[in-house]
C-alpha cells in the first residue's frame, strides 16, 4: 500500500484530537445499561420471576393440587396460606409459583418460534419483493382477517386441547404480525444505498441479508416480539378458559384468573392476584426490552 505522508495540518488535527477512550460495542452497551436503573430494576424482576418459576418445587410451601373444602376462598394471610386459597381451597402462592412455569412457557415459546419463522418469512418477502412478496404477504393477510383470539381458538380447536397444541396455535397467531413488521422494516432498508454499496464491494445476496439486512432489522423485530410476550400469556389464558390450552387442575395464571372470576364478590383481593402477576410480568418484559433496545442501538 502506498504510503502518503501527512500534511502539517492533518498532523496537527491528529495531535489536537481529544483522547477519548475507545470502547468496544458490548462494553458500550454495558456502560449504558449500568446507568439505566429502570432497566436494571425490571431486568432483575424478570430474572426473579423466571427463577421463581424454575425453582417452584423448592419454593412452594404446599402442594398446589391439594384441595380442602373447609379452607375455600380464604383471604390473604389466613393460617398458613400466605396469599389465601382458591375456590377449591388450594394454596394460591404455591399455585402461582407452579403456574408461572406454564404461563411463562406459553408466553415465551410461541413468540420465540414466531419471531424466527415470521421474521425470516418477512425478511425474504421484503428483500426479494415481486411475486415472492405477494405470495407470502397475501397468505399472511388471510390470517390477519381473523381476530387473534378467534384464530387461536379455531386452530387449537381443530387440533385438540393440550399445552403443546395451544402453543402451536399461538405460534401461528403471532407469525403474521411479526412477518409484517419484518417485511416493512426490510423493504425500507433494502433500497438504501448501503445495500447497493455492499453489492458493489462483492457481497453475495445471502451475506447481504445476513449482515446488512438483519443488522438493521433485528432491532424493531425484537422490540415488537418482546411486547408480544404479555399478549401471548393472556391469549394462552383465554385458551385455557375455553378448555383448549391448559386443562385443570394444572395451575396456570390465566386459568386461575378465569376460575377465580366467579368468586370476585366473595374475595376480590385473592381473585386479583393472578391478574396482577400477569400485569407485572408483562410490564417487566416490555420495559426491559425497551431499555435493551436503547442500550443496543448504536445510533442513539
Amino acid at each position: 500500500m502506498a504510503n502518503i505522508t501527512m500534511s502539517p495540518a492533518d498532523a496537527a488535527a491528529v495531535q489536537g484530537a481529544p483522547s477519548v477512550r475507545v470502547r468496544s460495542y458490548w462494553q458500550n452497551v454495558g456502560y449504558r445499561l449500568r446507568y439505566d436503573y429502570l432497566t436494571l430494576f425490571f431486568g432483575a424482576m424478570v430474572i426473579l420471576i423466571i427463577l421463581s418459576a424454575i425453582f417452584a418445587p423448592l419454593l412452594a410451601p404446599m402442594d398446589p393440587y391439594q384441595s380442602s373444602l373447609i379452607n375455600r376462598l380464604k383471604p390473604i394471610g389466613y393460617k398458613d396460606f400466605l396469599l389465601g386459597t382458591d375456590e377449591l381451597g388450594r394454596d394460591i402462592l404455591s399455585r402461582m409459583l407452579y403456574g408461572g412455569r406454564i404461563s411463562l412457557t406459553m408466553g415465551i415459546v410461541p413468540v420465540l418460534i414466531a419471531t424466527i419463522v415470521g421474521g425470516s418469512l418477512g425478511i425474504v418477502a421484503g428483500f426479494v419483493g415481486g411475486r415472492t412478496n405477494m405470495i407470502i404477504m397475501r397468505t399472511v393477510d388471510v390470517f390477519y382477517a381473523f381476530p387473534s383470539i378467534l384464530l387461536a381458538v379455531a386452530i387449537s380447536g381443530a387440533m385438540g386441547g393440550g399445552i403443546v397444541n395451544g402453543m402451536l396455535s399461538l405460534t401461528l397467531v403471532f407469525i403474521p404480525p411479526l412477518c409484517r413488521v419484518a417485511e416493512t422494516a426490510t423493504s425500507q432498508v433494502r433500497n438504501l444505498d448501503f445495500v447497493e454499496a455492499a453489492r458493489a464491494t462483492g457481497a453475495r445476496t445471502l451475506s447481504i441479508i445476513r449482515v446488512h439486512i438483519l443488522g438493521n432489522v433485528l432491532g424493531p423485530i425484537l422490540v415488537y416480539s418482546s411486547s408480544m410476550v404479555s399478549v401471548s400469556i393472556l391469549l394462552a389464558s383465554g385458551l385455557s378458559f375455553l378448555g383448549l390450552g391448559v386443562t385443570p387442575p394444572e395451575p396456570d395464571w390465566g386459568l386461575m384468573l378465569n376460575t377465580l372470576r366467579q368468586a370476585i364478590y366473595i374475595n376480590p383481593v385473592v381473585c386479583a392476584i393472578p391478574g396482577v402477576a400477569i400485569l407485572i410480568t408483562s410490564i417487566c418484559f416490555n420495559l426491559v426490552s425497551d431499555g435493551l433496545r436503547s442500550a443496543m442501538d448504536v445510533r442513539l
Partner: protein, 338 residues
C-alpha cells in the same frame, strides 16, 4: 505500464445500450456508448441529471436490477467480458477488480456497523484473510485517506463521523482491495466546497500512486477540470463529445458542451447574465430520430433532426457528434446561429 496494458485498454465499452423495461414503457437510458479507458487514466463523465452517467457506471458493474434492465453491447474490464460473468465471478469482480464510491456517504455506509468493521469485511471477502488482518488493513487505509486519529475512527459508527470523514471512509473501503478501476459516482456532490477540494486532491493523489483507472461521474465542470485527464460529455444517454480536459473545456466543439460551459457561473461574471440552454432534455422513452440535442440547439437546421449525427473523430483523437463539424484538420467551420 506494460505493453499489454497499451494494447488492451482497461475499460472498453462498445455500443453499450441500457434500457429499462416496464409494462408501460421502455426507457432508453444509455444509447450506443463507446468508451475506452487506459490504465492509470482519469476519465470524467459530465452531463446533467438523467443523461445516463450513473446508469453507465452501474451497468459496468452490473448493479442494475436484472429483471427490468436490458443491457446490450460489450463491456470489457481488464480483458474480462463483464456481461457474461455469473454469480461468484461477478461478485469477485465487484470490489476486487472494480470498486465504486457512492454519492451519499450518509446512506452508503451501514449504520449498524463500525467503519473499520465494514472495511475489514470487504478485505476478508476478497483476500480471504482473518478479520484481525482485515482490521489492520482498515487502519492502514484510513491513514492512507488521511482520516485524523484513524485508530479511534476505526471503531466509530458512520453517524459519529462528519460528511467528509464518511466520504473518506467510503474511499478507503473502495480502495481496500487495490482495484484496477475505481468508479466514482459524484463522490463530492454531497460535500461542502472546502471538503470537496480536499477529497478531490486526495483521490487524485491516491490514483496516481496506485495507478488506478478512474471513471468519475459529475455534473460539476469545476470538479472535472480539477481531476480529469479526459472528459466525456453525455447528453440524453449518448456521448456527444470526448477529448482531453483542456481541449473539451477550453475549446468545446459540440453546441451542448458550449452551452453547458456558458451556463456555468464563473467568478468574473458579476453583472453579466448567465446564458442558459433553453428547453429541457428529451423524453428518454421516445427519443427523437436525429440529434437529441437539436430541439434545444441554437444552430439547429432541418438536417439535424433527419438522422443521428455520426461520430466525428478529429486527428488528435477528439470526438464530437454534430453534423456541423468536419473531421478535417483545417480550421473548423465557425458555427453560426440558424
Amino acid at each position: 505500464m506494460s505493453d499489454t496494458a497499451k494494447k488492451t485498454p482497461l475499460v472498453r465499452l462498445e455500443d453499450l445500450n441500457v434500457k429499462f423495461v416496464t409494462r408501460e414503457s421502455t426507457v432508453n437510458a444509455v444509447n450506443d456508448v463507446n468508451l475506452t479507458l487506459e490504465a492509470g487514466e482519469v476519465l470524467c463523465i459530465i452531463g446533467e441529471s438523467g443523461s445516463g452517467k450513473s446508469v453507465s457506471m452501474r451497468a459496468l458493474m452490473r448493479l442494475l436490477p436484472e429483471r427490468r434492465t436490458r443491457i446490450s453491447g460489450t463491456i470489457e474490464v481488464d480483458g474480462k467480458d463483464v456481461l457474461s460473468l455469473k454469480g461468484a465471478e461477478l461478485s469477485d469482480l465487484r470490489g476486487g477488480l472494480v470498486s465504486m464510491i457512492f454519492q451519499e456517504p450518509m446512506t452508503a455506509l451501514d449504520p449498524v456497523f463500525s467503519v473499520g468493521h465494514q472495511i475489514a469485511e470487504t478485505v476478508r471477502r476478497h483476500e480471504g484473510c482473518s478479520y484481525d488482518k482485515g482490521m489492520e488493513r482498515a487502519l492502514e487505509l484510513l491513514e492512507l485517506v488521511k482520516v485524523p486519529s484513524a485508530e479511534r475512527r476505526l471503531k466509530a459508527f458512520p453517524h459519529e463521523l462528519s460528511g467528509g470523514l464518511r466520504q473518506r471512509a467510503m474511499i478507503a473501503m473502495a480502495l481496500s482491495c487495490r482495484p484496477k478501476l475505481l468508479l466514482a459516482d459524484e463522490p463530492t456532490t454531497a460535500l461542502d466546497a472546502t471538503v470537496q477540494i480536499q477529497v478531490l486532491i486526495l483521490l487524485r493523489k491516491i490514483q496516481a500512486e496506485m495507478g488506478m483507472g478512474v471513471i468519475f461521474v459529475t455534473h460539476d465542470l469545476g470538479v472535472a477540470a480539477e481531476i480529469a485527464d479526459r472528459v466525456a460529455v453525455m447528453y440524453a444517454g449518448r456521448i456527444v463529445e470526448t477529448g482531453t480536459v483542456q481541449e473539451v473545456l477550453g475549446n468545446p466543439k459540440h453546441p451542448y458542451t458550449q452551452g453547458m460551459l456558458s451556463s456555468t457561473v464563473h467568478g468574473n461574471m458579476r453583472g453579466k447574465d448567465i446564458e442558459a440552454i433553453p428547453g429541457s432534455p428529451p423524453d428518454l422513452r421516445a427519443m427523437p430520430p436525429g440529434c437529441s440535442f437539436a430541439p434545444r440547439c441554437k444552430y439547429a437546421e432541418p438536417a439535424c433532426t433527419a438522422a443521428l449525427p455520426p461520430e466525428v473523430v478529429f486527428e488528435d483523437g477528439r470526438m464530437a457528434r454534430c453534423i456541423k463539424l468536419t473531421p478535417s484538420a483545417a480550421p473548423e467551420k465557425e458555427l453560426v446561429p440558424a
